[in-house]
Structures are given as C-alpha cells and as structure tokens.
Symmetry: C2
Subunit: 221 residues, 2 copies
C-alpha cells in the first residue's frame, strides 16, 4: 500500500488531474489540457473531474496556477544567483536584467506553461488598484522590489520610478510573446539570445532615462 493521504476512491484525484494537466500543457499549451484527456490519463471517467472542478475552465485555472508558480520560481532563482561583490547600483541593475532575461528564457524553454500562465487573466475586477492574481503577484512583486532597490541604490532616479514596472514588464513580455508566437520563433537560438539581450538592455535604458552607468560605477582596475 502506497496509500498515505488516500481519501475516498481514488486518492487525491484533484492533484492527479492537475499534474496530468501540467504534463499536457507543457507540450500542448492551454488547448491541450482537456477534460477527457486528463481523466483518461488518471484512469477515471470524464465526469469524475466535475467533483473537483466546476468546469474545464476551472481545471485550466488550477493548472495555470501551478505553471505560474513554476514561472515565479524560475525568475527568483535567476535573480538570487546574482553574483555578489558588485557596487550596489550596478548590482540592482543586474538584478533587473536577470528578471527580464529569466522571464524570456522561461517563455522559450517552457512555451506551453508560459502560454498557460498568461492565457488565464480573466475573472473580475476584484479590488481597486491593479490587483493581480495571487499567483502572478510573486514575479510582479519581485519586479517592483527590484525597481525600488534600484532607486535605493541610486541607479534609478525617483522621479522615473512611477510606471517603470509597466515599461519593463511590457518590453520583456512582448519579446517573450514574439519569440514564442511571432516571427522570431524561427530564428536560431543564438539570434534570439542576441535579440533578447538587446531588448532587455533597451528596457533598462528606457526606464533609467540614460545609457550611462550610475555615478557610483567604480570599474575594478
């Protein structure tokens, strides 16, 4: 008996369905997570899913939440790996660069999950201000913190801080979408790498208002 938290008939069927959904979405995107397919893979009748999800959309949302978590983890890992020892201002810029490149790389590496994570922004206008889904909040909050860190480190003028998150997110998300669905997808990987770098650098310049390094930049001689 493997049974541990084995509940009624199947034993955490909800979890099994979501896991199967992740598997399907990984290669096939949102359209691939089909009610009949996940239940079939779980060895259960199609209607069993209705005991755990109100409809297909509900299932897709649950799968998307997991994909969004993986997305957030990928970005955090890349940011956390920022080398130490850089001047504060430069380090804060490097972190922003890493947020952007990690975003793009995740989209390229896990196209299906990326599509799923973003094709799921609906629901209702819940609160007053922007109010992101709790799952999205992790990556987005990371971006906000990174930008605030740039201000604190003197790498971003306070008066340029407002809206900066939207400019950054737009650039990076736009390139990710173009790299995944647009004409760029047919280019060889190294070309996409170069384009991604250029786009992220432009986003950084666009937010900071200048291409120059922060004043505190002390090149190690």
């Amino acid at each position: 008996m493997i049974a541990q938290t084995r509940t009624y008939h199947h034993g955490d069927l909800r979890r099994a369905l979501i896991d199967q959904g992740l598997l399907l979405a990984r290669t096939g995107g949102p359209a691939a997570v089909t009610l009949r397919e996940v239940t079939r893979a779980a060895g259960v009748s199609p209607n069993a899913a209705y005991r755990h999800f109100s409809d297909r959309e509900d299932l897709v949302h649950a799968v998307a939440a997991d994909a969004q978590r993986a997305f957030g983890r990928a970005i955090s890992a890349r940011v956390d790996a920022t080398p130490a020892g850089l001047p504060a201002a430069e380090a804060s810029i490097e972190r922003l660069r890493r947020v952007g490149l990690a975003y793009i790389d995740f989209a390229r590496a896990e196209r299906g999950w990326f599509e799923l994570a973003f094709a799921t922004q609906d629901a209702e206008p819940s609160a007053e201000i922007v109010t992101l889904d709790d799952e999205v909040v992790a990556p987005f909050q990371l971006l906000l913190d990174t930008l605030d860190g740039m201000v604190a480190a003197g790498a971003l003028a306070p008066e340029r801080r407002p809206y900066a998150e939207w400019a950054c997110w737009s650039s990076v998300h736009g390139f990710a979408d173009i790299a995944v669905h647009g004409p760029v997808q047919w280019q060889p990987a190294h070309v996409i790498d170069a384009l991604a770098t250029a786009v992220v650098e432009a986003a950084i310049v666009g937010v900071r208002g200048t291409a120059e390094l922060p004043a505190s930049a002390s090149p190690v001689v």
Copy 2:
C-alpha cells in the same frame, strides 16, 4: 437581382465566409471563427467551406490576413496624421510615438482582431532572415522606415539603430497584450491611457539612449 459577380451557386462564397469570420472574430477572437458558424451565417452547408479552404486553420488564416490589413491601416492612418511643421528630428520621434500608440489603441479597440492577427504566426521558416508574413510586413516595414527616418533626422544615433525595431515592437506589443489579456484590462480607460503613454515614452528613450530632446529641438515660442 443583386447579382453582379455572381458565379456558380452562391457567388463568391469564399468572400462571404471570410467576411462572416471577421464579424465573429471581432467580438469572439480566433476561437469564435468556426467552420459551422460561418457557413451557417452564409446559408450554406458546413462542407461547402471545404471548396474554398483546406480546413478550419486555412479559413482562420484568411480571416487573420484581413484583420492584419485593418491593423496596418489603423497604424498608417495615425502616422500619416502627424502634424506638419515640427523640426525634422522631433517629427521623426513623433511618428514613432504614433506607431506605438496606434498599435496599442488598435489592440484595445479591436481586441478580437488583434488576437487573431497575432495568433496566426506559424507556417514554416520560409527564408533566411526574419521573413515576416506579407501581411505583417506592412506595419513592421512602417516601423523600420520610421526608425530609419529617425536616424536620417538625427534623432537616433546610427550605432543605436540595430535591433531597435525589436525593442520597440516588444514594448508596444507587450503592453498591448497586457492591456488586453493581463491585469491592466480591468483598469478604467484613462488609467490605461496613462500607462500606454508611459510605456511608449520609455520605449523611445530606451531606443534613443537618452531622455533628452534632439539637438535641433527649437521650441516654438
């Protein structure tokens, strides 16, 4: 008799199906353009569509081509309406600004067509270099020309020209996508306007490398 170019049985059924597809896609996006629905609206049997399109995807492509044309027209119109009398450098920047804002506004105003126009980048890696679909070429070529015009007018340093189109397109497309599918969609229109403005300005700065006006800027007093 309305008949004019009335051909065999129906009279330019292909055109009728595409038109109905545009109607459906306008409110429902790509998913709404369904083989059975377009034929039903045309008063024809579902299979009649197969005399004009190889399959549903083929129909969607044809509808998308029309949507992309409308997209291109909207951008061109906005750029062509650039007021005369500005210094050349400023005028060239203004044209870039208009490309971006028109792109975003079209996405917001015609969400379904926008989705359709972009959800149709597949086919094969046809030529060597980027090779956009002929339909996409119009807006994209417009962007290229606009950037070249900025170089010519001294509003963009030649060494910053490479890859500039990708940075611009990414910013603007990314915001369009976020404004249409992301959390921004729930904000009131004036907030989205403000964000769009900020994003486009940041894109311009990011490409030019500075927030300062070109040297030739002569404020009309």
